[in-house]
Amino acid sequence: MALTPRSGAVMSAYLYGPPDDMDDMDDMDDMDDMDDMDDIAAKHGLPVIEDACQSFGAVYLGRKRCKLLTVGCYGDCHARNPRPRTRKALLPHRRRRPHGHSTQCVIVLAKLHRFDWEVECGKGLGAGYAQYTVFVENREKMLEVFKNAGVPTAVHCPASLHRQPANKTEGPGLAHTARAAARVVSLPVGADLATTGQRRVVVVPKEGIA
């Protein structure tokens, strides 16, 4: 429905990971269905670009080519982790600064030796996501509860792109986006998060609401 004669490409984003609780998503289509997206794009002769900024390691099946847009490193996407699912790997897209032996490449290379371990730890924590995100009602109160308990949180993203002053777009069909923007809270995640730390994070909201 969004396609017009001026459409040049389809750009999807792997955000956090697929929702675990489909009850919360009721009428929402599976946003992450790359096969459907590939089919639609192919039908209209459009390339698909995957913004995989948070999902390094994802691989894709199928005919349509997608490009992994970024590789995590200290200078740039330093909070990225791979997705737990895999499909067939495709060509990494070069960053706008293509200097092959830069300081940042060296840092990523140094991290690679424990990368598989980090992925496994992530699965053990039940995450493996760049962000572990939950949906809450009354987000302001929940943020206060976490803050008082010393648990850092983040909100990605509170203002969806169509509502940013720089874009100034409104329109039908973005109700799920708006709803998600009002409900998301991301929790501490990372391969080095100890189990005790994770338990504490889970308990805090229960204690805070009680």
Partner: protein, 366 residues
Amino acid sequence: MTIQFIDLKAQYQALKSSIDARIQQVLDHGQYIMGPEVAELEAKLAEYTGARHCITVASGTEALLIALMALDVKPGDEIITTPFTFVATAEVIALLGATPVFVDIEPDTCNVDASKIEAAITPRTRAIMPVSLYGQPADMDEINTIAARHGLTVIEDAAQSFGAEYKGEQSCNLSTIGCTSFFPSKPLGCYGDGGAIFTSDDHLARAMREIRVHGQERRYVHTRIGVGGRMDTLQCAVVLGKLERFEWEVEQRLRIGTRYNELFAGKVSTVTQRPDRTSVFAQYTVFVENREQVQDKLKAIGVPTAVHYPIPLHRQSAYAALGRISGKVSSSEVMAGRVMSLPMSADLSRQEQEHIVQLVIEALGR
């Protein structure tokens, strides 16, 4: 002896403890994005140039792009510049959909010919972007006067000239906006990509700071279109590690460049040094005929050379249709066929330099 074109290793050896310590501090504190070294470097560089604001950015190219975005340059706008420069100067103009308008250079300095700028101005002109080529500032007073008369902004492309002076003032603080590069081979370089914008205009500075972080006025609120344009904390740390020796290096560059001129006087044609300004000799450049043969001869006897630039931008296939030429650009075309740069760095020894000069003179059959 093995001669390096630019001896970065010697510089690192001289500064190793300082640079290593600075890098380690960043790795230890872990603030890899917008860490304390960013603000520290910006404060020190602003003080050095005399500009009120220094905004570090991802590269010299990004500096030019962000400067133009802060001026809200749009498709249909024209920016006057020189075709005898690194491609980034025109690239950023074209990326914003604006038109680079090429004005010819002076054949003796290879800087833009200020006397030809006014003829290039149209109602669509928004800014003038002179390049301080090879490290010598362009005719900034003349250019600023023309710009003021027509309500235009001047952006000094000072990618090669950080540290140079013009009538007692520092390059990067000679016009409303100055942009420089910390590419490793520059007079002040980092160990990767980096750059900075200088201005004393508070509104422009604020716009540039927002643009470099995706147009954010505050976290999550994007009030303008931006770019991912920050300079890494690590690279800021490297530049900080180099600052202790920078003034000495500027003095050395001036001394070595002047010595080259003296040794070549009457024998080899060189870039003219204007008396009212200095150069940091980002490149030491001579003018030769039969350049390819000369370069081959010199290469065979161990003297590396470089050509900046063999193809002026109006002849680059990506820009031929995008730019507009004002008048003729014959000097640009002639000099593109004659320029040849020689080894240059603050650590170039007297012995190496005299050796290079002798071999160049012999290669030219003088």
